[in-house]
Subunit: 545 residues, 2 copies
């Protein structure tokens, strides 16, 4: 039997585009003589549709798409993910389903059993878990059709009390198909393969795995659909971070091919590709073309500029320098050099005069009080206001340049440098931002080396350095990682060899700055625990604060 794996980039709620992509792919699969073509989870509506699922009209449109797609399924079968209405009154109104299409109509509908409800996932918010188990049949072959999390019940600390495959195996399927919407993070693709392998070995069946690709605001899907034999060997793998299509023979003659993931040797390479895809897709799906950002002379804005140029083209990125009386000459020079290296046009809007007007307007109130964070933040907010003025006048989208370390400890100005439609590196710790910069310079110097080597500074007061208020980033980031990614408590982090006072101070900064992150832009998610959708904290919480 020949099976086509169709790895597509869907757009949430864009039924017209998604449906026509799926139909195009079915036609291609037919041409290539496939018996079955497999699409990913919730393909017709995109993933995650979130509360759109609460609209009857939206759910109806999903069904209309499926009906349209079914008509294409003559001389071929297809598996397409979509929500379906729960016919039983009790329980949630919907299932997360895989439509099995054959002979121009809906032959069967298989529902997802294990509903991920953690981190960025909210599936039990919408879906009733499946409780009936049956395999499907294509060309006389029995297939165990599963949906993403259905295979993710880990042996050592299972999140669920049940394994759907334990039921499906009773029908003696010949192989497993899993349709997924499994988002990227820099460890996820290995983790995913390990889980698929454990299933393959446990049930002694090959697997065909079809994943989403593309970005939906903060959630990045890396693709990497694959076929794995019953020994756990990857026989073939689709592209990462790109749409792809493959027709294979199943059961497969063993033709192990070089993994397409191999081109990503390091975490930083993966993050780099993910971020470029994230920026590109955000713009395309929002129907935007051009971006702006503030160039400070620091490393964060330099890295974001380069990523934006890669994603959108140098002709579509309009960085702005906004020096104040506190900006150093080297910052301006470095920014000019960077703009030259990337080929973008960089404009300059000095902010001194505007700043002076604010100072004189607030003088009657501030009189006598020393310069402090109030005056610092005025500068950052002037820059935010100017960038948003360009955005409003020309339709540029402002890219936010905050990194994860500063978002964590609140080292940034709300409505100032925290402005932007999309946070590009908000899930990248400062130490990894340096790595990204070095990676960007791997072939030639694009980011001037002085930007990478000088000590980080916000330049909001004379001689300011980040280390005036924060520990060195290599220490800060390690403490943050243990707290945020690993959920370690203060005792554990201190026991790992960090200064008690420092640990308590940093954790307190993280927790008391929840109010700032609440108003941050959406953040491209590249780690297993990003701020935003996947990390939900009470603002009025009084824990470690």
């Amino acid at each position: 039997m020949k099976i086509a794996l169709s790895q597509l980039n869907y757009h949430i709620g864009n039924f017209e585009e998604n449906t026509s992509k799926i139909i195009e792919s079915i036609r291609r699969a037919k041409k290539e003589k496939a018996d079955l073509v497999v699409f990913s989870e919730l393909a017709v509506c995109g993933y995650p549709p979130l509360d759109f699922l609460e609209f009857g009209d939206f759910v109806k449109k999903c069904k209309t798409s499926i009906d349209t797609i079914a008509k294409e399924c003559n001389d071929i079968s297809a598996i397409v993910g979509a929500p379906s209405v729960n016919p039983v009154l009790k329980g949630k109104n919907l299932f997360n389903s895989a439509y099995f299409l054959q002979d121009g109509k809906i032959k069967d509908v298989i529902h997802k059993t294990l509903l991920p409800t953690y981190d960025v996932f909210d599936e039990y918010r919408y879906f009733e878990p499946n409780k009936k188990f049956a395999c499907i049949e294509v060309n006389g072959e029995t297939i165990a059709l599963t949906i993403c999390e259905d295979l993710w019940n880990e042996e050592d600390d299972p999140l669920y009390t049940f394994c759907p495959m334990d039921e499906l195996i009773k029908s003696s399927p010949k192989f497993i198909i899993n349709i997924a919407a499994s988002p990227f993070d820099y460890v996820h693709s290995e983790f995913r393969k390990a889980i698929l392998k454990r299933n393959v070995l446990k049930y002694e069946l090959p697997i065909i795995y079809v994943n989403h690709v593309g970005a939906q605001t903060e959630m990045l899907f890396d693709g990497g659909s694959l076929i794995m034999n019953e020994k756990g060997e990857v026989l073939n793998e689709l592209k990462y971070f790109e749409e792809d299509f493959l027709v294979i023979e199943v059961p497969s003659t063993k033709y192990q091919v070089p993994s397409k993931e191999k081109k990503y040797k390091s975490k930083i390479e993966k993050i780099h590709s993910a971020l470029v895809m994230g920026v590109r897709d955000y713009f395309r799906k929002m129907n935007f073309r051009q971006a702006t950002l503030g160039l400070s002379g620091g490393i964060d804005s330099a890295v974001v500029l380069v990523l934006a140029v890669e994603a959108l083209g140098k002709e579509n990125v309009f960085p702005v320098m906004m020096p104040s009386q506190f900006s150093s000459d080297h910052s301006v020079n470095d920014s000019v050099k960077l703009a030259e290296n990337t080929g973008v046009t960089c404009h300059t809007i000095p902010i001194e005069n505007i700043y002076d007007e604010y100072i004189s307007a607030t003088k009657p109130f501030f009189k006598g009080l020393p310069f402090n964070v109030a005056e610092e933040n005025i500068q950052a907010r002037i820059r935010g206001t100017l960038l948003m003025a360009l955005s409003n006048k020309f339709g540029y989208i402002l890219l936010n340049t905050s990194n994860k370390s500063e978002l964590a400890v609140g080292y940034g100005t709300l409505y100032g440098d925290m402005c932007g439609g999309l946070s590009v590196i908000g899930d990248v710790y400062k130490t990894d931002v340096f790595e990204l910069a070095r990676y960007i310079n791997r072939n030639k110097e694009i980011i001037p080396s002085t930007i990478i080597t000088k000590p980080p500074s916000a330049e909001l007061r004379p001689e300011q350095l980040d280390t005036d208020s924060l520990p060195p980033y290599d220490i800060l980031d390690k403490i943050l990682f243990q707290y945020i990614e690993q959920h370690s408590g203060p005792q554990e982090i201190i026991a790992a060899g960090y200064d008690e006072q420092l640990v308590r101070r940093i954790l307190k900064m993280v927790n008391t700055n929840e109010y700032k992150r609440f108003q941050a832009p959406p953040i491209l998610r590249v780690s297993p625990k990003a701020f935003g959708l996947g990390r939900r904290m009470p603002i009025v919480g009084k824990y470690l604060s």
Copy 2:
């Protein structure tokens, strides 16, 4: 048997405060000869603890609190809500539990079965549903102990496939206890009573219901704990929007008392009390004292000012007028009058000079292009920057004054009038803001009548009126209500008699402005469907947009 109902205002993660409140209440109950004292759901850690529950350290602190509280339980039993660790490896790591404390120790732990995972609730994100059922015994009386949602499986469209009371009833309990964290909205208290009544009638048992009270950022808990007899009559009811304590005899001699909810005759009265509590609690729990806000001369800022004065005292509210060349004389005069009426000190910072500096700084870029939303937004952002400068200098917290109608259609400036630590009326439609203003003026004119009667205007360009870009609010709000609260699709709203083009335009505005709301402050939730926590929409979605 005498039972004490303890309705307390907990602070998320503030174990010290919560524990000592609970202990104080146990001592009072002992003094009043109660056999049992009942506290609400997740009392020791506050509700909702959200992802704090993913920290082992946090969960341990919950258990430590329970152990401390248990030691107080001599000569009295207590029921206290707290998370507990799931001893079984399979499934989620925690239960949402009710600790039954007796003889100075933990006598039993009862777990929640139905885990609300919709709107503002995410309980399946953290908790494993209970599958074992047993009643508890106090003084020889069998009691069915349930937790909030356990009684909420509605007959007509049940969200769950199972009713825990159907199991518990088999042990022939004498009455039901339900410990809850049931948040306020303006229809919720009636809805709650109706559900409790249906349970009482179905199982022919009286019920003792103990709810949270107080605000946790956006979630407002209104209290209203009660005892209802087996006929569904409310025998006694605790206060709304305040802590309260009551000892009652169960089974009760019938002493039906006047409902404490009766003082709230209308939706607007309830909203008013809820918002005042919301502002007060946010400040207390964040350890803030003083507020600032921009006074525009319009109705939104007028209403927020009055609510803030009620919540914090006139000596703690510092409104600021920031007139521009586009501000009308009547706006300034009305604001001065309002400040007089409320007894606050109002300062004025004209923004013309700052605005002129922005215009001259952007001139090289904007040259030749007509005045548009860019210049309008500069004004709003200057005001935001000035208010935040006062916030930074003096520790005032900026109150946001956006209403639900403008948040819905994106009629507001991100980083401008959308700034603030807390959105006070962001869940109140403009037509209800008018109602609130009239309610505030019920005894005497506090908000000058000219503020209520003049046509709304943002005053960002000459002669501007809201109706230049929006339909009249009475039409707009009705369409928004059908879409947002009722989840009606375009066809349904048009069928209800609204202009097709207008409906499509408004729904498109709602959906395309998701990116703005994403960065809005937390919004005090008073409706069944508020923006924020309870309404999760994809930003890159392309549905009705």
